[in-house]
């Protein structure tokens, strides 16, 4: 099972393609990798891509909240969440913090900041 994240940059927008199983095991390197990336590049917006993700637990929420705190309010969003991920996002209160989009294109080109 793949546990690598793929990063994609569109100007100052960073898209993080999350793994299939977004748990503690697969989170271990994400924080460090993203820290490095953000130290070397100007990132003003983060979009989380859940398209591949079939499972997430509170370890994943920890990652999301960490990045949320680093960005200005409204500058983190996500798309592609399956029912399990949506439930977890809801219980953790993430839906009140991050905007949800239908697709990557919508997330990138949305005027909403």
């Amino acid at each position: 099972m793949e546990d690598s994240f793929v990063y994609e940059a569109k100007g100052p927008t960073l898209i993080i393609h999350l793994p299939k199983e977004f748990d503690h095991h697969n989170c271990r390197n994400l924080r460090y990798e993203t820290d490095l990336l953000m130290a070397e590049n100007y990132v003003s917006r983060i979009i989380f891509d859940f398209t591949r993700t079939r499972f997430m637990d509170s370890s994943g929420i920890g990652i999301l909240l960490n990045r949320y705190k680093q960005m200005k309010a409204g500058h983190t969003s996500f798309y592609g969440a399956c029912p399990q991920v949506m439930r977890v996002l809801k219980v953790a209160g993430i839906l009140g913090l991050m905007h949800q989009y239908e697709s990557k294109e919508e997330a990138i080109y949305s005027r909403e900041v």
Binding site: H24, R28, F55
Partner: protein
């Protein structure tokens, strides 16, 4: 460090009277038929996924909905992750996963036990957002998730004595 002895913390979200009668797990004290499962594994982060998948497959005999299966997977993942990170602090140890299914009642009980450092203050540990390692980006929501996705969560722990988390869920509410 003061020894606080055994602490038991219980939470009940739903009326758990009928669940309460099933306290004597696996022992046939007038209990209807049940099936059990036990698994011992190393406290490695790879086993978080293994454990939650095993628990879900075991639970499937109660014919749960996909949503109920997701709930069980999430709760078990939280408990096993706690054992790996907090119980054993990344050191090698054994994690004991056991489960009981009462088919007629459609009741599931899952226990995740470790022989790690234990918890000094269970009540505090179960507070939403409480974490002993915020600098690692831990959300502190593990126990809250277990409580949100299962009907009942019981934690037995003491410093140096390890931790046991038992979670119960009625299928088909």
């Amino acid at each position: 460090m003061e020894e606080t002895g055994q602490t038991v913390q219980e939470t009940q979200k739903v009326q758990a009277e009928q669940i309460g009668q099933n306290e004597q797990e696996g022992k046939n004290v007038g209990m209807p038929e049940c099936e059990t499962m036990e698994l011992i594994m190393e406290s490695r982060s790879e086993n978080e996924e293994f454990a939650r998948v095993v628990a879900a497959v075991f639970a499937s005999r109660l014919d749960p909905t996909l949503e109920e299966l997701d709930d069980i997977k999430t709760a078990v993942s939280e408990a096993v992750t706690n054992a790996v990170i907090h119980g054993y602090r990344g050191q090698e140890g054994k994690i004991y996963l056991s489960a009981t299914a009462w088919e007629k009642e459609r009741l599931l009980s899952v226990t995740v036990r470790d022989e790690g450092v234990g918890i000094r203050d269970v009540e505090q540990a179960m507070e939403p957002m409480f974490t002993t390692c915020p600098e690692d980006g831990r959300s502190g929501m593990g126990f809250s998730f277990m409580e949100a996705f299962m009907d009942r969560v019981e934690v037995v722990s003491a410093p140096g004595k390890g931790t046991s988390v038992t979670m119960k869920k009625k299928i088909g509410r």
